[in-house]
C-alpha cells in the first residue's frame, strides 16, 4: 500500500460528524462515487456502516431472549430496531457467546464457562478499588484490545459484571483494561451514546476518572480506552518496530505508543479481538495490523521498556528485564468463499459496496490456523465454524432453550450460513517464567476436519 493511501488521522477526525446520517446500499454508493477523494472514504463509510448492521442484529437477538445484554438498545442507533430472521439471531448468539466464552477463559481460567459467579471465593475480602490492597494480592490486570469495536457492548457487560462481582464476591477483582479501536466517527458516536445514557455512564464507574478528548472522539478511564484511529495507520507503523517509547517510524517522528494508543500496557497479558474487522482491510494491511500488536507485545522488540504502560496505572512492576507477556487473538470472520453460498455472499456484499478483502487469503479453517501460527501465536491455534460451535460448544440444555425461542424453518439454510463463519483463536504464552495464562484455551475444542 502506498503512503498516499494512508488516510490522515486528522482528516478523518474532522470528517467524523458528517457520517451520521449516512445510509447504506448500492444506490447511495453510486451517488457518492463522483467525489474523487471520497474514493476510499466512501468505502470506509460502508465499512463503518457494517457496525450498524451488527448492532441491530445484536439488539434483535437480545429482544428475543437469545442474549442477555442490558446495553444493546443504548448502543443501537434509535429507530433502527428490527426483528432479524431466526437464523441470523442464532448466528449472533453463537458468535457472541463463543467470544464471551473465550474471554471468560482468558480472564478467569479456573471458572466454569458462562458462570463467573460460581467462582470459589479466594483470599481475603477486599474493597472494589485499587487502594490499600498490596499489589501482590491482586491478580495481574489483563488487557483486551478490540479492533473495529464499533458499538460493541462487551466492555459494558464486563464492567457491570466486575461491579456486581466485587459487591457480592469476597475475592479480589480481576482488573480488566479494555481498549477499543475504531474510526473516529464510530468512537464519536459511541461517546455520544455514553453521554446520553446514564446506565452506560454508571458502568464506566467514577465519573471523575473519565476523560473525553476535546474532539469528543476519545475516551479514557482506568479500565476502558476508546481510541479514534484508523487501523491502517497502525499497519503503516508495523514495518518499523513499534518501540514502546521511542520513535514510531520515520513519518510519525513524534508518535510514541502512549500518544498513539494511550493506556495500552505492553507488559500485560493481552487478547486481541477482531470481530469481522480485519477482513475489510487489504490482506497486507490486515497482516501488518496484527504484526504491529505482536511487535508491541514483544519485549525483544524496541529498547525502551514498560514506561509507556504507565498511563494505565497498573501493576507493571519493572524489576529486571520484563518478560514478553502472553498474547492471544480471537478472530471472527466469514470463510469458504468458493462454494455456491460463498460466491453469492461475495457478490451480494459487493452490491452493497462491501468487500471482504482477506476472505480468499484465509478461506478455510486450516488457513486461519496457519495465519495465526505465522503471526507467532505458537502455543496454540484453533478454529471452528459457527455450525460446529453451535453443535459442540453450546450445552444441550442451553441449545434447547435457544431453539425454543424461535422455530427454525430451514435447517439446511442454517447450516449453510453457519458453515461460512468461523471463530479462530491462537496464543503464545510469552517468555520469562513459565506462564499459563491461556490454560483455559487449551482445553477448548476446535474443528479438525476440513471442507
Amino acid at each position: 500500500m502506498s503512503a498516499s493511501q494512508i488516510p490522515n488521522l486528522n482528516t478523518l477526525r474532522r470528517g467524523g460528524a458528517r457520517l451520521r446520517g449516512r445510509g447504506r446500499g448500492g444506490g447511495e454508493l453510486g451517488s457518492d462515487a463522483p467525489s474523487r477523494r471520497g474514493g476510499s472514504s466512501t468505502k470506509d463509510r460502508v465499512v463503518q456502516g457494517t457496525d450498524n448492521d451488527a448492532s441491530v442484529s445484536r439488539l434483535s437477538a437480545v429482544n428475543l431472549g437469545y442474549l442477555d445484554d442490558p446495553f444493546a438498545s443504548a448502543l443501537t442507533p434509535p429507530g433502527q430496531e428490527t426483528r432479524r430472521l431466526p437464523i441470523i439471531n442464532r448466528g449472533t448468539y453463537v458468535r457472541t457467546t463463543t467470544i464471551d466464552h473465550l474471554l471468560t477463559q482468558f480472564l478467569h481460567p479456573s471458572t466454569t464457562p458462562h458462570r463467573p459467579d460460581t467462582d470459589t471465593p479466594q483470599r481475603t475480602p477486599t474493597t472494589p478499588t485499587k487502594s490499600t490492597i498490596p499489589t501482590l494480592l491482586r491478580p495481574k490486570p489483563k488487557q483486551i484490545i478490540s479492533l473495529g469495536a464499533g458499538s460493541d457492548t462487551r466492555i459494558f457487560r464486563l464492567l457491570a459484571q466486575t461491579q456486581t462481582q466485587t459487591q457480592t464476591q469476597p475475592h479480589p477483582e480481576q482488573t480488566i483494561i479494555y481498549h477499543e479501536l475504531d474510526f473516529p466517527s464510530n468512537t464519536a458516536s459511541k461517546i455520544r451514546a455514553i453521554r446520553a445514557v446514564p446506565h452506560l455512564q454508571r458502568a464506566l464507574g467514577d465519573p471523575q476518572t473519565v476523560t473525553i478528548s476535546p474532539a469528543a472522539d476519545a475516551l479514557h478511564t482506568p479500565h476502558y480506552h476508546l481510541h479514534p484511529i484508523d487501523l491502517r495507520q497502525l499497519a503503516a507503523l508495523a514495518s518499523s518496530p513499534p518501540s514502546r517509547k521511542g520513535d514510531l517510524g520515520n513519518e510519525g517522528a513524534d508518535l510514541r505508543l502512549d500518544t498513539l494508543l494511550p493506556g495500552l500496557d505492553p507488559t500485560l497479558p493481552t487478547v486481541l479481538i477482531s470481530e469481522c474487522c480485519l477482513i475489510y482491510l487489504e490482506p497486507e494491511e490486515a497482516r501488518r495490523v496484527v504484526e504491529f500488536f505482536v511487535g508491541v507485545f514483544d519485549a525483544s522488540v524496541g529498547e525502551g521498556k514498560a514506561e509507556a504502560g504507565a498511563g494505565a496505572g497498573s501493576g507493571a512492576g519493572a524489576d529486571g528485564p520484563p518478560p514478553t507477556p502472553p498474547l492471544g487473538i480471537i478472530l471472527y470472520e466469514p470463510i469458504r468463499p468458493d462454494d455456491a453460498f460463498g460466491r453469492t455472499m461475495v457478490a451480494n456484499l459487493a452490491t452493497r459496496g462491501i468487500q471482504l478483502q482477506t476472505l480468499h487469503r484465509y478461506a478455510s479453517l486450516a488457513a486461519q490456523r496457519a495465519r495465526l501460527r505465522a503471526h507467532g501465536f505458537v502455543d496454540g491455534q484453533a478454529a471452528a465454524d459457527v455450525d460446529f460451535l453451535w453443535e459442540r460448544w453450546v450445552a444441550e440444555g442451553e441449545k434447547e432453550r435457544v431453539a425454543g425461542l424461535e422455530m427454525l424453518d430451514e435447517m439446511e439454510e442454517w447450516r449453510l450460513l453457519a458453515r461460512h463463519y468461523c471463530v479462530a483463536w491462537g496464543w503464545r504464552e510469552g517468555g520469562g517464567r513459565q506462564q499459563h495464562v491461556f490454560e483455559g484455551w487449551r482445553g477448548l475444542e476446535g474443528q479438525q476436519d476440513e471442507d
Binding site: A340, N348, I354, M407, D409, E412
Partner: protein, 435 residues
C-alpha cells in the same frame, strides 16, 4: 377480458391488485378449495413444484422453463410465501390461476401457510407494508386453512419419451433397445444433462383387460413373467423392492401413485386414507398428524427421529419403503428442504425432495428444479381413476406382492431469474449476513 384475467395479467407484471379484489379472490378460492379432499387426486401429466417463498421472478422463470398455465398442469407443494420479497404477488397469482383453471393447477399447504410462521418470516410484514393493514394477510390465512394437505398423482408413465439433443457432457447410463428412460435432467435451456435407463417392463401378451380402469385387481393381475430376475436394473430405483422379501419378481404394469406432500410422513399416519380423516380446516397445529405432514423430513436413519426444526419428525428409509409398499405408492414427492442441486432422490428413489426457489433468500446460491411426470400412454391414455388406491395389490392370486415401478421422472433444473437483482427493493438490505 374478465376481471380475473385482468388480475392475472396485472399480477404477472408483478403489480398488486386492489384489496377488494383480493377479498373476492380469496372468497372464490375458498369455495373451490373446500370441495377438495385432504388428498387431491391429480392425473398425469403434471409438473410438481417445491417451495416458492415469494421469489416472484423465479416463479416466472419456473413457468418459462416448465411451460405456462394452462398449457402445463402444475402441482405446487406449498411454501408460496415468506422469506422472499414478493410473497403477495406470488401467492395471489397462483391463487388467481387456481380459480381460473381449477383443473390445471393444484395447490397444497406448506408449513409456511400458517398465521404463526408468516408473522415471523415476512409475509405478514409484507402485507402490512404493501396494503397498509393486516386485512389481506387475514384473507390469505383463511385460504391457507382450506388448502389440501397432499395430492396423489395417478397414471404416470414408467418411462419417459427422450427429449431432444443432449449436451456433449451429458452423463448417461447406456441406452439399450430393451430399456426405457427412467430419469432425465434438463437445464433451463432444455438441454439434457443427465439421463438414466432401466430395463423395460417385461411384457407378455396377456389380454388387455377391457375394464382396466375400473377393475382394481386387474392391474395387479396382469403380472408378468419374472424375466428380469436375471437382469438386474441398470439403476436401483424400484420403490418397495426391499419391502417384498418374498417377492418372486412379479410386477404390476402401471406405476403406483405418487404421493405429494410438503414435508413428509407422520408416525400417526400409516395409510393415505388416514390423511383423509384429518380435520384440516384450521391453523397448522404444533403437533399431530397434520403438523407432521407439513414439517417432517426424510433422513438417513432407521425409523423415526426428533426433528431439529422443533416440529415434525425425521423418518428413515425403512419407514418410506413400508409406507410406499402398504399404500401402493411408487414415489413420495415432497419439498420443504433446501437442496443445492434443486432435487434429491433418497432411499432407492422412494422419495424425492423438489426445491423450486433458486438462490433461496437471494443468498444460498442453489439451483432449483421442477419434476415432470408423464402420462402413461400405454393404456391409450386412459387413466385408472380410483380413490387413491389405484394399482393397489389385492394380495394376488398366488400371494405374489406387486412391485410398483417408479414413474419416469424428468427434472428441469433452473437458476435464479436474471431480473431478480433489479427487482429487489432498494431500501431493504439484499440479504442478511454477519458483519
Amino acid at each position: 377480458m374478465s376481471d380475473l384475467d385482468r388480475a392475472i395479467a396485472q399480477l404477472r407484471a408483478c403489480r398488486l391488485i386492489p384489496e377488494s379484489q383480493v377479498r373476492e379472490l380469496c372468497y372464490k378460492a375458498r369455495e373451490l378449495l373446500i370441495e377438495e379432499g385432504n388428498v387431491v387426486c391429480v392425473d398425469a401429466p403434471v409438473t410438481i413444484c417445491g417451495d416458492i417463498h415469494g421469489q416472484f421472478h423465479d416463479l416466472m422463470e419456473l413457468f418459462r422453463v416448465g411451460g405456462d398455465v394452462p398449457d402445463t398442469n402444475y402441482l405446487f407443494m406449498g411454501d408460496f410465501v415468506d422469506r422472499g420479497f414478493y410473497s403477495l404477488e406470488s401467492f395471489l397469482l397462483l391463487l388467481c390461476l387456481k380459480v381460473r383453471y381449477p383443473d390445471r393447477i393444484t395447490l397444497i399447504r406448506g408449513n409456511h401457510e400458517s398465521r404463526q410462521i408468516t408473522t415471523v418470516y415476512g409475509f405478514y410484514d409484507e402485507c402490512i407494508r404493501k396494503y397498509g393493514s393486516a386485512n389481506v394477510w387475514r384473507y390469505c390465512c383463511e385460504v391457507f386453512d382450506y388448502l389440501a394437505l397432499g395430492a396423489l398423482v395417478l397414471g404416470a408413465s414408467s418411462g419417459l419419451e427422450p427429449t431432444g439433443p443432449a449436451l456433449e457432457t451429458t452423463s448417461s447410463t447406456m441406452s439399450l433397445d430393451d430399456s426405457e428412460l427412467e430419469t432425465e435432467v434438463l437445464n433451463s435451456r432444455g438441454e439434457v444433462t443427465m439421463s438414466s435407463y432401466r430395463p423395460k417392463q417385461p411384457r407378455t401378451d396377456s389380454p388387455l383387460l377391457p375394464s382396466l380402469s375400473q377393475d382394481k385387481s386387474a392391474t395387479s393381475s396382469t403380472t408378468q413373467t419374472p424375466a428380469s430376475s436375471s437382469m438386474p436394473p441398470l439403476r436401483s430405483g424400484w420403490a418397495g423392492t426391499g419391502a417384498t422379501g418374498d417377492s418372486s419378481g412379479s410386477y404390476a404394469t402401471g406405476t403406483g401413485a405418487v404421493l405429494c406432500v410438503h414435508g413428509g410422513l407422520s408416525p400417526l399416519i400409516d395409510s393415505v386414507d388416514k390423511i383423509r380423516l384429518i380435520d384440516r380446516k384450521q391453523e397448522v397445529p404444533h403437533e399431530g398428524a397434520m403438523c407432521d405432514l407439513l414439517w417432517s423430513d426424510p433422513d438417513e436413519i432407521d425409523g423415526w427421529g426428533l426433528s431439529p426444526r422443533g416440529a415434525g419428525f425425521l423418518f428413515g428409509g425403512d419407514i418410506v419403503k413400508h409406507f410406499n409398499y402398504k399404500n401402493d405408492l411408487s414415489l413420495i414427492a415432497r419439498a420443504h428442504q433446501l437442496v443445492m442441486e434443486g432435487y434429491k432422490e433418497m432411499f432407492d428413489g422412494g422419495i424425492v425432495t423438489v426445491w423450486s426457489a433458486p438462490n433461496y433468500c437471494y443468498r444460498c446460491g442453489n439451483v432449483a428444479s421442477i419434476l415432470e411426470l408423464g402420462e402413461d400412454a400405454s393404456n391409450g391414455g386412459t387413466v385408472a381413476r380410483s380413490n387413491g388406491d389405484y394399482g393397489r395389490s389385492t394380495g394376488g392370486a398366488a400371494g405374489a406382492a406387486a412391485v410398483t415401478r417408479s414413474p419416469g421422472r424428468r427434472y428441469r433444473v433452473f437458476e435464479a431469474a436474471a431480473q431478480d437483482t433489479r427487482g429487489m427493493p432498494a431500501k431493504k438490505p439484499v440479504a442478511d449476513y454477519f458483519l
